[in-house]
Symmetry: D2
Subunit: 350 residues, 4 copies
């Protein structure tokens, strides 16, 4: 009944079990343990090349540390106007980079376009201006859409031409991979991505994300930044164990696939609700829906939880599904929406 966010969820049972399993006896601290070592190898398998992996506990830490590694203090990070790192991290990228500038771009359905990026880049080599340094895409996006591999490649081509690093905020990366049916490699380094914030928390972990660098040489400083930011865990095994379980048997993709299907079902069902209008294509696990106010109030009255977006009077609501969303909750939501929208239901009539 709670569609307010995928971070209101608990932990997937496989991951809780992995935490308990990792709790056996003494282990070397700060990442010199066997779990963390296995995890590094596992990530290299998943991404089909040797990568550098750094577990951290929050998405904000992952993003800010990754961007700081790719952006000097006088650099510019380009991204979409609605990006989490601009809107919802209280200036973490500015803090970790030492004061870089975020230059935000408009873009339909939560995505930036290569041409708009190209047009925004200026000032290279001119000392008065902050310097173009990096780009951050959100995959899946803040609008519940996904970047196609070709879209990423086009952006990466702009990056190459202007010597910008390319970062992906993948707090919902699993949802994008599950949606696109492309390999993690295709959606990252093969498309030109340099670093990825690989999210797990929203999709079944307790608090675990991984920063992945596809060229380990570019990650040289990351470990110092992570420690200095207070994000190196002494009992690292418990971060690594979450991520290991998350990758094991493709749990991450199964969880995300379920969430995506629940979102698709909501979208499908809302088509039958008069006055409901999707704001964006539904390609992952978020929906933004314009709804008649009585329907919104009715849904609240029926106990459903979700946010009006992005203010308290808005006629647009956001619905987020998750790895543990019950199909019955989806159906109940749709039934409530239909009822408040005045749709008579044949079944009852009969």
């Amino acid at each position: 009944m709670n569609f307010s966010s995928d971070n209101v969820t608990g932990v997937a049972p496989e991951i809780i079990a992995a935490l308990a399993a990792a709790n056996a006896g003494a282990m070397a601290s700060y990442g010199a343990d066997a779990v963390t070592e296995r995890l590094a190898r596992r990530f290299s398998e998943v991404f089909e090349r040797e990568v550098a992996v750094f577990p951290v506990a929050t998405g904000t830490a992952a993003n800010a540390l990754a961007l700081a590694t790719l952006t000097p203090p006088w650099g510019i990070v380009y991204g979409h106007r609605d990006a989490h790192f601009q809107v919802d991290e209280c200036g973490a990228p500015e803090f970790y980079t030492g004061g870089a500038k975020l230059r935000m771009l408009d873009g339909a359905h939560g995505k930036i376009a290569a041409a708009d990026l190209e047009a925004a880049i200026m000032g290279r080599g001119v000392v008065h201006h902050a310097q173009p340094a990096s780009v951050s895409l959100t995959q899946s996006s803040e609008a519940g859409t996904v970047y196609q591999a070709a879209e990423i490649e086009a952006i990466a081509e702009v990056c190459r031409r202007h010597k910008l690093a390319l970062h992906v905020d993948g707090s919902r990366f699993a949802n994008a991979v599950a949606s696109l049916n492309r390999s993690p490699a295709d959606l990252t380094w093969r498309a030109g991505v340099d670093a990825l914030s690989f999210g797990a928390t929203k999709n079944g972990a307790m608090a675990a994300e991984a920063v992945v660098f596809f060229d380990p040489a570019k990650a040289a400083d990351f470990a110092y930044r992570r420690k200095r930011g207070g994000h190196l865990f002494s009992k690292m095994r418990f971060l690594s164990a979450q991520l290991e379980a998350y990758l094991a048997g493709d749990l991450w993709l199964r969880n995300a696939g379920h969430a995506n299907r629940m979102a698709a079902r909501l979208a499908e069902g809302l088509a039958a609700v008069p006055g409901a209008r999707l704001q964006h294509p539904v390609e992952a696990n978020e929906l933004f829906v314009e709804m008649p106010d009585p329907v919104i109030r009715g849904l609240y009255a029926d106990g459903f939880q979700f946010y009006r977006w992005d203010n308290e009077e808005s006629a647009v609501i956001r619905l987020v599904t998750a790895f543990d969303t019950e199909p019955s909750a989806v159906e109940a939501f749709l039934a409530s929406a239909r009822r408040h929208a005045g749709v008579s239901t044949g079944a009852r009539r009969s």
Copy 2:
């Protein structure tokens, strides 16, 4: 058999159980959940006054965020030369404060003395000099000793006179409280402490610390600093649940008391090992022992794990006990030490 650190330990069963229990259903994120609310009340009870409490996941985050709240970028933090925040946090306090200066003091047995602090304070109001701003004590200390309440009070008196804030790095605060048999209040705000990094990770939690401000008004900025540092957990309930279980039934004091007793037993036993010399009084759960090299090598050969302190050729070793140290491991260690030191054992004689 592993005495290398209290952070090689796993998680206390009570806390693993609490994590599982907290995993029931959806909960509001970012600390607006019931567990976090209960935790705040519990902390106020433990400290016998209303306090502001901020859970974070690492001791470095707790210290750096607390110090940044108490120290302007041009401020000076005074502390002991061996303090963790100076030696082992890769510059986290400098990072979080925006470049404050750490002025380190000598002091016997890991503790600073009020008189030495007084003598070190200078430059107030002179724009050329970084400005005295705060003091950080480590309780229990890096040398395995504890500050008596009267020692803290004397330091707090210097702080009051010079308008310095007083912080306690309590990553092993439980060990100090268990050792001193004084109330948490007596050892903090009643003695003049403004903020405490209240540690749990080393003493049975998975990854959980709390920053406690005894005057909530002084904590106004902390929430922004925490978020911006990437230390606000979306699934906060799992940090809070660890801390709640840690405080429940005085688990924190029972765990610490056990670790302390194991350390005391080691100290007692080492008195019978020729050539073994304690470097500091053993008042908490750490011992620093000068040992003959053959004994050290013998212990390593017998499979015991610990560090030579503070370099690889050192004749001084550090032994750390923990909440889960087996008495039998202690006895085995002592037996090995005695044997390698050439002490004949009555049992064999008979």
Copy 3:
């Protein structure tokens, strides 16, 4: 013949003379000299109340230090999209504030409107968002226009309601005062301004600006920030002497008045040049003029210096007049423009 900027000018003779005069004998360093003391009193007279004054050498230093004093690291500074502190200071405000966010607003003719500011303020008290903290206006603006006292008052009213500090970047404040014929007090604190970057460099000084706080209590930290930024001059008397001469006998207003008149004459003359179109009202010492390309090329060929705005193919040029702009240079420019625009000048000759 050089209209490219008012910073290509040299130093007004009165100020060169003051530097020589200040060079007599030893004087206390770092601002404890008699010149600096006189200057402070003089500023209080000019602004008709007791103010705190801090001389620095560059406009970027003035702006960044002022904004850092008014904005916490997690704060937001609002300003016009074209503001110097956003576009031309290579991230100095981000650096000095410790990573604050600049939120830029559109606005006709280089000015922000109170209503647009009001609409942009959000997120107060929500820890995920950077926090509204300050507003910076540029007076005269980057478009060569000026804020009327009533416009400032309206913005200040929004600031008061939202508890934002109000800063004015007055690198061309003299031009605004000369243009508006209002007192410095009316255009600053009486209208609700908290701090002013009072420029002198562009208007006849060698390198001297003053940061003025209208409530000295709010300036408590400024001196530490200035020192720590490397902006406290040991031989301060030479900064103060420039500013003293600048204020003496209203040199600042005379210089600015001359520059403004030269700009007005250019604007008037350009009205007679076919195809020349002013982009903004000409209210200070800058003009932005759309010109036919052959005219622009002709002017360059005749040796006039100025920039196409804001790229090298632009049909808009910027013309800046200064305290030392010769009326004959203005007439020569206009004659050249008319000639290249095909205006026959027969009539006047006859």
Copy 4:
């Protein structure tokens, strides 16, 4: 009569003249002027190799910007405990580096020894520790002594072995060069120095220093740091003109040579004052002298200005000579000291 510092002096007449001369007509701003271009060539001649030169206005800016270029935020700068950048810059190095750590060494007569540096370096590659990054020597030192070329070479050898950059704070570099009779090249890059804060302000300039990088490739970021710090002057010609005049005809060495001779004369004369004891060899333009209190008071009473070092009750005074110290002032000082020390001056009486 004023021996309190070399920064209480005015400007050398040659430099005042150069400022006036640079004031002719319009010039390109921000360093694209002819004076600055000539200056760069001149520096390369003085140092006998191509160097990168960046004029700034204060010694604190020069040091902090240079150190920030050589030291990452998690780096350690090693230097002498009394170094200006540690004691007298209000944390500017911490600010500009983004929070690096200053590790201060003891050392006789204001100088660090290679062996002590070697012993202090530790923690390389260990993520818990701030990382050894750079060394800063003060030449001439805070104790009025100078590093011999061989001493610099020994320190540079340690730097090479540990991959540390070597910076020289040369706010009184001219005094050292004049004292040592070695070429600027011998005392810098030939000895292994990477960057130099080349001071002029204390030795006759108004406000001008230059940061010199001996490998221009290492200076790539400096220009952005300078701009972002607010230290790029729009009317750069006036900084460059000071430095050009300072180097012309070896004014810098003549000025410094004079100051050094005045210091030597003071030292020589003080040998005849009972109870006066030099604390350090007098090798440049500063003397630290223990004096009987009645003598100190007598000198003050006679109108001489100088500081008790380093507190107001100290029996040690500091005397600083400068480019404009009058020989008669030196003799008067000595006569006063002798008189207050009770030395009868037979010659005159007879």
